[in-house]
């Protein structure tokens, strides 16, 4: 296996983009990534696209060919492949691109992620199709409900409070203010979260990430090619993936995302680091409890003690381990299939020193992208 570097990154504005269509936002992200890599486009040998549900969000399938076409790559006839794992689709696209380069099959590959959720259908209902539709969703267990069940169990087992969960949202909103592409660029207070209406008790509206329109793209190249293209390559030192039982009721321990634990353990081994060596992380805070669980399952804290990190300010942007400097899914917006790619964009900017007002000091970064309630997890470790 060869070393693989990120040589170009880009992403569109995230949010409710009423004036822009799916093709527009994908192009915006792709063009930015190409400009960043100083490539024309014809050097790209293959494309992987993370997209959860073009069929239901847009009524459009065959998304990868569509994107290849509208990015002007149909002319070259490159292979374009869509990959899907609910809201981990973007992470999977990056991993497919990574494997295509690491294996020696291709020299330069683009991974994109895109979702346009505001055109057709109910965004949360479609995202909830990531759970077991027949045995969870049928009885009312949609995505917020299942995370709420985890949240209550965490609170009753470990003493985590609704205030702790609120602080995750407050932190991510504070970071989002500094990200020009974030959907929500305003600070909120713990009280605002606590006073927002319950969606699924104990989770409130401001505990839930908004489901947004957005697209992101990263261009990956083999180490040798990367050195010719750029002076600031950021290396993907690991990109691992794992799965778990899809339904909560099949998991022995509902409060441990086994897929995250397994993917993280393998990623640390490949990157030859430990959890304590991670200096910045982008994690999947689709709900505030998910960020607390991520701290624990990634090994940033012991099981049950995740809330201490937020209480002590460790994961604040100026703390020892900044988590979600981009604003995370909560403030940047959760553009479903784009999110996992957007996380890699953020880490690349951070490690290159290009993150402007939200810059942290880091040489090693970790991204965690989750599908549904944790039946798919993708962990990437980047280093400069």
């Amino acid at each position: 296996m060869r070393r693989v570097a990120v040589v170009g990154v880009g992403y569109s504005q995230f949010g409710e983009l009423w004036e822009r269509g799916f093709r527009d936002i994908v192009l915006e992200a792709g063009a930015e990534a190409l400009a960043d890599a100083e490539l024309e486009g014809k050097e790209i040998e293959a494309m992987y696209v993370g997209n959860m549900s073009g069929g239901r969000y847009l009524g459009q399938e065959h998304i990868a060919a569509l994107i290849a076409d509208y990015s002007g790559l149909a002319e070259f006839g490159i292979p374009a492949t869509r990959v899907e794992a609910a809201d981990a689709s973007g992470g999977l696209a990056v991993r497919q691109a990574y494997m295509a380069v690491a294996s020696g099959l291709h020299e330069i590959v683009i991974a994109a992620g895109a979702e346009k959720v505001t055109d057709v259908g109910d965004p949360m209902e479609i995202l909830s199709a990531s759970v077991d539709m027949e045995w969870e969703r049928f009885v009312g267990g949609n995505l917020p409900a299942l995370y709420a069940i985890m949240a209550r169990m965490h609170m009753e087992s470990f003493g985590t409070t609704e205030e702790d969960l609120a602080m995750v949202s407050v932190k991510n909103h504070r970071n989002g203010v500094k990200n020009p592409k974030a959907q929500f660029r305003r600070e909120i207070k713990v009280d605002d979260v606590l006073r927002s209406p319950y969606v699924a008790e104990p989770l409130k509206l401001l505990d839930c990430a908004s489901i947004s329109d957005g697209a992101a793209a990263v261009i990956l190249a083999s180490e040798n090619v990367a050195r010719e293209i750029t002076d600031t390559p950021v290396y993907i030192e690991a990109c691992t993936q794992a799965s778990d039982y899809i339904a909560l009721h099949s998991r022995k321990d509902v409060l441990t995302m086994k897929a995250v634990v397994k993917a993280a353990r393998e990623a640390y081994k490949l990157a030859r680091i430990e959890a304590k060596d991670v200096q910045v992380a982008e994690v999947h805070d689709s709900f505030t409890i998910a960020e607390i669980l991520a701290y624990e399952d990634l090994g940033f804290s012991e099981k049950g003690k995740g809330a201490e990190l937020i209480r002590e300010g460790i994961t604040e942007i100026d703390g020892d381990l900044p988590v979600n400097p981009s604003g995370g899914l909560k403030a940047c917006g959760h553009a479903v299939g784009a999110t996992g790619v957007r996380q890699i964009v953020e880490l690349t900017l951070q490690l290159r020193g290009d993150a402007e007002k939200r810059q942290v000091d880091a040489e090693k970064g970790l991204a965690l992208n989750i599908g549904g309630t944790g039946a798919t997890a993708v962990v990437s470790i980047l280093g400069r």
Binding site: G140, A148, I149
Partner: protein
């Protein structure tokens, strides 16, 4: 949608699950294949206990409040189901018993979906 629902009514109307004679694990919904033992598994269909306790729950606050709970039946099988009771009555650890209830319908002209919900056991 009708066949998709109909073919599972045996398991929705009653609590039928599977038991693996090799490892002693129960599963709901039933599985054709024991995920623990794989090829060595000996899976048979069994009736699950009528009662259990609430491990955790949520009250969904979109429209009429709806209680969705993770329940552990008395033999250890876990199931996500609705609790049919006043949301203010619910607490973790409470004993619950299965009940046959209406879940909803597929639009005005579609079939009515029935299934198992749980009620307080006392």
């Amino acid at each position: 949608m009708v066949p998709r629902f109909w073919r599972k009514i045996k398991y929705r109307y009653d609590l039928k699950g599977s038991y693996c004679e090799n490892c002693g694990n129960y599963h709901y919904p039933p599985r054709n294949f024991c995920p623990v033992c794989r090829r060595r598994g000996r899976v048979k269909e069994v009736r699950l206990p009528d009662e259990g306790r609430v491990l955790s729950y949520t009250i969904i606050r979109e429209g009429e409040p709806c209680v969705v709970a993770l329940i552990e039946l008395d033999n250890g099988t876990r199931i996500i189901s609705q609790l049919s009771c006043d949301p203010s009555e619910v607490e973790t650890g409470m004993r619950v018993r299965k009940a046959f209830r209406r879940y909803g319908e597929d639009g005005e002209e579609g079939i009515i979906n029935y299934g198992t919900k749980f009620v307080p056991a006392n």
